[in-house]
Amino acid sequence: MNKKQMKEGIELIDAHFKGEGISRRDAMKLFGTSGAAALLATGATTTPVQASEAKGKIVIVGGGLAGMSTAARFTNSLDNPDITVIEPADMATSYQPGQTLVGAGIWEGSAVDYKTADFVPSGVTLIKEKAVEFDPDKNTVTTASGKKIGYDYLVVAAGLKLDFGKIEGLGITETITTRGDDKAVRKVVGKNGISSIYFANGAIDTWANMQQFVDKAKSGKKVKGIFTHPNTPIKCGGAPKKIMYLTDARLREAGARDNAELMFYPNGSKMFGVSEYHNAIQRQFEARDMKWNYRHNLVAVDTEKKVATFNKHWKQKGAWDEDLEEYGIEMKNEKVEVPFDFLHITPPMKAAEEIGSSPIGSSKGWVPVNKETLQHVKYKNVFALGDIAAVPMGKTGGSARKQYKVVVDNVIAMMEGKSELPSKYAGYTVCPLITSIGTVMLAEFNWTKKPTPSFPLDPTQERWIWWLLKVYALKPMTQYGMLSGRA
């Protein structure tokens, strides 16, 4: 690391705390200084001062990042908590954002593994099963073994499913979760250069494939790497690009970048919904000779021949529409075949079938909630958060970190008989966009579609301190701060 960057970091931090009216020293004392983990574990900045005496049975479906953090915060906030978490997976509380680093060989696979059992707050009942039936009129949930569980308040935090089956030629018919049983997918995705960091073992296989790809380029062959982004909302919208930046970095490190062509094929026509970040990313792509081709949706893969088929779609001026008093547009599309040596698939994603098509689901599959209070649009004692909630732009751990506090505040207010829901989510999302080994652009934004930086710095710049944040600080913050319901 270089001295100048170090100095920049320290100065920045000092300036920040000065703005907050405290010195860095005091801030550090506040946290204790015995290592990042301990620091963040004690970073009890938002623990409610007063516990509530309100009563009620709370059932949480899904014990991943959002669900377990919610359980912990309820436990901290209530005098007499009565909380049940329904979660089938052994490793539900693993650190998914780290899979990007695993996929590029920066972390070992085991660095992201965290057992569910180690994060169940004391006093919380864990039912190690899937919830399969929802009867919100009778306030019950039924598990796979047929156990019927009643509730006063239901919190749905069941994340999302990866739907590789939508892509023809892979021979996959099941949907999987990131940390559940992945046999159905791993038999194809992970081989022949076909990769995906979206499931944990897939990230490990991605690194193996990436090394082969780099070696081939190094041996003098001309190679082609392609990276997809589907037509559904996805978790961590930045990850499909991050793995591409990291592939670029690994090729450069090997001195083989000139032999590889790297192309990004997203279904959409933008790099980012926030124009400042969109522009910054396009500039970064250009500087690295990373190419992109918008409006391409991956629909099929020939795993033997290594050819990907995309549905290319575009708009064309249509007929005069008198109801619009303007020319309308027509949609056109055609199939495009692209050969590859390395293919990174970001699969289509959706809510679990048993929830999306239940009474608490919706025609779009996600659980529809008021996007600010996170209360279900139909059932007032049902809330949803995390990846499964039909909230615009969310689906990151960073947005869940804001949402779980909102849900806890609002449920407790209802338990206390208050008529107003006091807490509102404003759409905050953060995407630490890894742009090389050693730099990150910290893209923070909310529904205003403007950058909302936490630091007084140009948010469109790639910086080494954000790399430190991403690679060293965010994991302990998540695993010990958020999952204990504190930060």
Binding site: H229, P266, G268, K270, H376, T448, L468, G481
Partner: protein, 155 residues
């Protein structure tokens, strides 16, 4: 290494303490027309007098979902999709919306969603829902989430 630790701790501390800036929630926008006026003068032509849709225009029904859900769809249409590079299934309506805004038919998504629900919402018929829960009759009256205080305001 000591210095590195210091930076790490500090960055983490800053982020944990003050990170997740809520940021501004946007300037107040005022709209020239009320949601009802916009619906009657424009949307109606394609989405029907009762939000029932129009097959000839390929415009889907808007009376089959409640305000909370509809607001999300309106948000999506006005913002060109809500995920970084996923795009949208609403290319046509997005184009329409841009033209309609140019012609003065802009609206607040929340107010529009509440107006459409209040005026047209119909529970999907039993064969669509596979469940015949009689309790749903009262739904339209009880479901609207926030009150209309924000009807013509903000975001």
């Amino acid at each position: 290494m000591k210095k590195l630790n210091l930076i790490l701790l500090s960055v983490g501390a800053v982020f944990a303490l003050t990170g997740c800036n809520d940021g501004p929630t946007g300037e107040k926008i005022t709209y020239a027309k009320s949601a009802q006026e916009v619906y009657d003068q424009s949307c109606k032509k394609c989405h029907g007098a009762n939000g029932e849709g129009n097959t000839e225009k390929k415009a889907p029904a808007l009376n089959d979902r409640q305000a909370g859900e509809l607001e999300l769809d309106l948000y999506d249409v006005k913002n060109g999709g809500t995920n970084q590079s996923s795009g949208t299934d609403h290319d046509i309506m997005e184009h329409n919306m841009k033209k309609l805004i140019d012609k003065g038919y802009d609206y607040d998504p929340k107010a529009m969603a509440l107006y459409i629900e209040k005026s047209f919402f119909k529970m999907p018929s039993p064969e669509d829902t596979e469940e015949e829960t009689p309790a749903t009759e009262e739904a339209p009256a009880t479901t609207e989430t926030p009150t209309t205080e924000e009807a013509n305001a903000t975001r």
